[in-house]
């Protein structure tokens, strides 16, 4: 039932304080005064509570169980983060207050930037972007500004591996680049030959995720960096997979010029059904002057926002970024520290390899190599053999009270499952997941219909998304 169907005309869910100001009639041209009815729900406070409690009950979440969505780093979100971000001194301040009276907030932003610079090996960083893709756009606009500032106007190409996340080419395009896809090697790594072929003086940037979306570390990264830089292009790091390498290797140390991070992934801020996130962008010092405004600076122990940056790409959003998200990331980093972050990456990688080993007994892994924090199952043989699709397997997993891994991404492996366990999951959980998956593989052979018609135990059964898109219903309407 929708909240609109719970509505009863005249019911109220809230009461305002008495007002001591007389109500004034609207003194506006009548055609600007609302005539259209405003059909919002009229419900009581108990109605609201029951409605959203019911909806909450229909959601899977990290607090409920294993959520191995590849590329998404669904790690456990510490409760302390919610507490600190909710402090009045953080939530009840207006962004236009005099900065002398938001020193705590500015200091937090500044220090978080310093910590993230140290973790990534970058020199400067902006915490403005609201998400990973927003960071990509920001980073690519910086790349654009850089080349233009050098009057190097013919660099219109962004190289993006075919294994990349869709936001990479989309962001590059939004930043005005023409995108060329690089075919990967069989292993899913950058093909050095292919790269060489495409590198020329029209290339502005090579965008990489490292470890890549197959969970493999680009072993030739130093060589790649050299090639890219020699060609006059910049090397961009999509930090979605940073969770594998904290305290191990820093993108800044191995040749990356621009880095974006996903605080909602690696730094557990958390995901909120798809956001808000935060996508800081770090750069090497030669790119610092292009960062978006404002940049938080520290002078004589005071923090202030600097808006006066003539070469800046400009603003990428309003105010100072997703500040509450930054509070959570800062809290998380203080809690984890150097030792904890390193341990997190190691355990993330250990978990992935352990689960990969277990699963390799009954499904093909896309690459036989040691993986980083995630790995990809190549289900094409399985699909051929059983007629059951990987999507069906994913749906059947839901029946067992776990979330499915990412499916059909990266695009270079067909019928794939991309599995990222994260460090906060226990051996026990991984053992159980592998057993469930094995059981489903067995079912697919003995009782394929069971799997094809999955899920069976979820709040709704398999949903028809084809019709939903063909005959879209965008909003609730009263049915008469």
């Amino acid at each position: 039932m929708t909240i609109f169907e719970r509505s009863v005309t005249g019911r109220v869910g809230f009461k305002l304080p008495k007002s001591d100001i007389e109500k004034k009639e609207f003194d506006l041209p009548s055609h600007l005064i609302r005539q259209r009815p405003l059909n919002l729900p009229e419900v009581s406070e108990p109605d609201v509570v029951r409605h959203y409690t019911e909806l909450a009950g229909k959601n899977y979440s990290v607090d409920k169980g294993f959520y191995p969505l590849g590329s998404c780093t669904m790690k456990y979100n510490p409760k302390i983060n919610e507490y600190t971000a909710a402090l009045d001194g953080f939530t009840q301040i207006h962004p236009y207050q005099p900065w002398e009276f938001t020193q705590g907030a500015l200091k937090l932003i500044f220090e978080l930037k310093e910590l993230l610079c140290e973790i990534t090996g970058m020199d400067e960083m902006t915490l403005q972007p609201a998400a990973g893709a927003h960071g990509e756009l920001t980073g690519m606009l910086i790349a654009r500004a850089y080349h233009l500032s050098r009057k190097d106007t013919k660099r219109h190409i962004a190289l993006v591996p075919d294994s990349a996340h869709g936001t990479n080419p989309a962001s590059a395009a939004m930043a005005g680049f023409d995108v060329i896809e690089l075919k990967s090697t069989e292993d899913g790594l950058v093909d050095l030959e292919e790269l060489k072929k495409h590198l020329n003086d029209e290339v502005a940037v090579l965008m990489l995720t490292n470890p890549n979306t197959l969970g493999l570390f680009e072993k030739d990264i130093l060589q790649i960096a050299e090639m890219v830089h020699k060609a006059g292009a910049l090397l961009y790091y999509d930090g979605a997979n940073l969770n594998a390498i904290m305290g191990k290797v820093r993108p800044g140390d191995i040749g990356f010029d621009i880095v974006h991070l996903n605080l909602h992934k690696t730094f557990s801020t958390p995901h909120g059904m798809g956001g808000p996130g935060s996508g800081p962008v770090g750069v090497k010092s030669f790119l610092g002057e292009f960062l978006p405004i404002p940049v938080i600076k520290k002078v004589d122990g005071k923090y202030y926002p600097d808006f006066d940056l003539p070469k800046s790409i400009g603003r990428v959003r309003s105010f100072y970024g997703n500040f509450s998200v930054l509070v959570k990331a800062y809290t998380y980093i203080l809690m984890m520290g150097k030792d904890g972050l390193t341990h997190a990456s190691q355990m993330a990688v250990l978990n992935a390899n352990y689960l990969r080993t277990l699963i390799s007994k009954f499904l093909k892994i896309a690459s036989p190599r040691i993986c980083m924090h995630e790995f990809v199952v190549d289900g094409s043989d399985f699909v051929k053999e059983t007629g059951v699709k990987i999507l069906d397997v994913a749906k059947r997993l839901l029946d067992h009270g776990v979330h499915a891994p990412t499916v059909y991404f990266p695009l270079i492996v067909h019928e794939d499952l991309m599995i990222e366990p994260t460090e906060t999951e226990s051996k026990d959980t991984l053992d159980k997941f592998a057993k469930i998956l094995e059981m489903i593989v067995e079912e697919a052979k003995t009782n394929p219909e069971l799997v094809k018609n999955a899920p069976h135990k979820t709040p709704v059964r398999r949903l028809d998304d084809v019709t939903a898109t063909k005959k879209p219903i965008y909003r609730w309407r009263k049915t008469i």
Binding site: G13, P29, K58, D63, N77, G274, G314, G321, A468
Partner: protein, 443 residues
């Protein structure tokens, strides 16, 4: 051993053995280990971190709500406890994007209902399930207009939020769109004469704000009549939409805005949430995620993500936008807030904000201050205070009042002006106090 990471040494040993390697670093053999000694402290414990964060929070001065007279994009409103209680449920907070619809019906239905509410407020036919904020929503709306008609010039009213304009310029720069600013008439509305003359065959879109940055209610009907069939983009404030005729009525193509007023704390400016609504005919040009209603195998109603082919997962560099992670949780807060307040609650807040603004304007006039514009305003209005208004503003802040935004920050020519804002949280007492404090500057 770390409280968030469950592995015991014994388990690590067993797992390494299963994998078939000797030690943890064997898993990193492809990796050049450059980061062996990060210069950041070791991990702390909860109590130390809580007290560190609490002292940082204390270094920010919290102004009592009734003493806040600043808006300009971020507004102080009441937020019922029930909104916070529900929005903080871990089932919402710790879920990902609803990639598996069957176990994400909570998210999907809540967002579908949010879309409906935005349609109701704006009068538009379809709304997406959130953008980052109002500024980036406007930027995306402009790119969307460009996709609709392929033209290059954007006419943007001077009375659109300056940060929104800056953001839009940043986004549009890469698409080589050009901007022309439309000045204001003495009423504070976008100058219709200039607007009409500026429209030509190169015009892609006209952008106005409703009520505009200076609080003046633009006459959207007149604007539409003066811009032919150019794409009309309206930036709107949600509470005002509960009492103003919605932009759709006047032939608006895209409505965007920021949902912060609807139940989201000021949060030092973020996260808020952007909304973006349009007409069905433009839907395939629209950025962002859309939730649609459908049925399951057994015929039961359910919700799924729809029209994903517009998004970057499929069309990649041809996508309508790169937006992936959006501001879903904030959109759900908006929905919970609107459900709690209902249409009458929203209207009541809007009426009170309006009445307070007009009471305060009257009092300021009595004190001898002049309003910058003479057009009809909603709950914000610009006033001429004093030459060095910025410093009197800072002074009254120290006295516990967050005064009107110094307009000189954005407009050299309005250096002596402040943008006053009232909402339902201001009281007669707090408004009289403001008048008194600012009145000290009248000579």
């Amino acid at each position: 051993m770390h409280p968030y990471i469950p592995h015991t040494n014994e388990e690590i040993r067993q797992m390494l053995q299963t994998i078939g390697v000797q030690q943890l670093d064997d898993l990193y053999k492809d990796v050049p280990l450059t980061a062996k000694d990060l210069k950041i402290p070791n991990g702390l414990d909860e109590f130390t971190v809580v007290s560190l964060l609490e002292s940082l929070a204390c270094e920010n001065k919290v102004i009592e709500k009734s003493n806040i007279f600043m808006g300009a994009g971020i507004y102080a409103h009441y937020i019922p406890q029930v909104v916070k209680a529900l929005a903080s449920r871990p089932e919402f907070v710790t879920a990902y994007t609803p990639y598996q619809a069957e176990v994400s019906q909570g998210t999907l239905q809540a967002l579908f209902e949010y879309q409906t509410m935005i349609c109701e407020l704006t009068g538009m036919e379809v709304a997406n399930s959130s953008m980052y904020d109002g500024a980036s929503a406007l930027a995306e709306a402009v790119l969307m207009a460009y996709r609709i008609n392929g033209k290059h010039e954007i006419l943007i009213s001077k009375a659109v939020h300056p940060e929104y304009i800056e953001t839009t310029r940043t986004y549009a720069s890469a698409q080589n769109l050009s901007f022309r600013q439309i000045p204001l008439d003495t009423s504070g509305k976008t100058d219709l004469g200039v607007l009409r003359e500026s429209v030509d065959e190169e015009t892609c879109a006209v952008v106005v704000q409703y009520p505009n940055f200076f609080g003046i209610v633009e006459d959207l009907k007149a604007i539409r009549e003066n811009i032919k069939d150019v794409v009309l983009i309206v930036v709107a404030e949600p509470f005002s939409l509960s009492v103003l005729e919605p932009p759709a009525t006047f032939g608006t193509d895209i409505v965007v805005g920021d949902g912060q007023p609807l139940g989201i704390s000021m949060n030092y400016g973020g996260p808020t949430v952007g909304f973006l609504a349009t007409l069905e005919k433009h839907v395939r040009k629209m950025p962002g995620r859309l939730i649609g209603e459908t049925r399951d195998m057994e015929g039961n109603k359910g919700y799924v993500m729809i029209l994903q082919t517009r998004e970057q997962h499929i069309r990649r560099e041809k996508a309508t936008s790169n937006i992936c992670t959006n501001h879903a949780l904030m959109a759900v807060i908006n929905a919970i807030f609107m459900s709690t307040m209902g249409p009458n609650g929203l209207r009541e807040v809007a009426m009170r904000s309006y009445s307070n603004a007009h009471y305060l304007a009257g009092k300021l006039r009595e004190k001898g201050f002049k309003l910058l514009f003479d057009g009809p305003f909603f709950n914000e209005f610009a006033v001429k205070f004093s030459k060095d208004y910025d410093s009197s503003w800072r002074q009254i802040f120290e006295e516990g009042v967050l005064g009107p935004l110094p307009l000189g920050w954005y407009f050299e020519e309005y250096k002596d002006c402040g943008l006053v804002c009232t909402t339902e949280v201001n009281t007669k007492q707090s408004m009289d106090l403001l008048v008194e404090l600012l009145g000290r500057d009248v000579r």
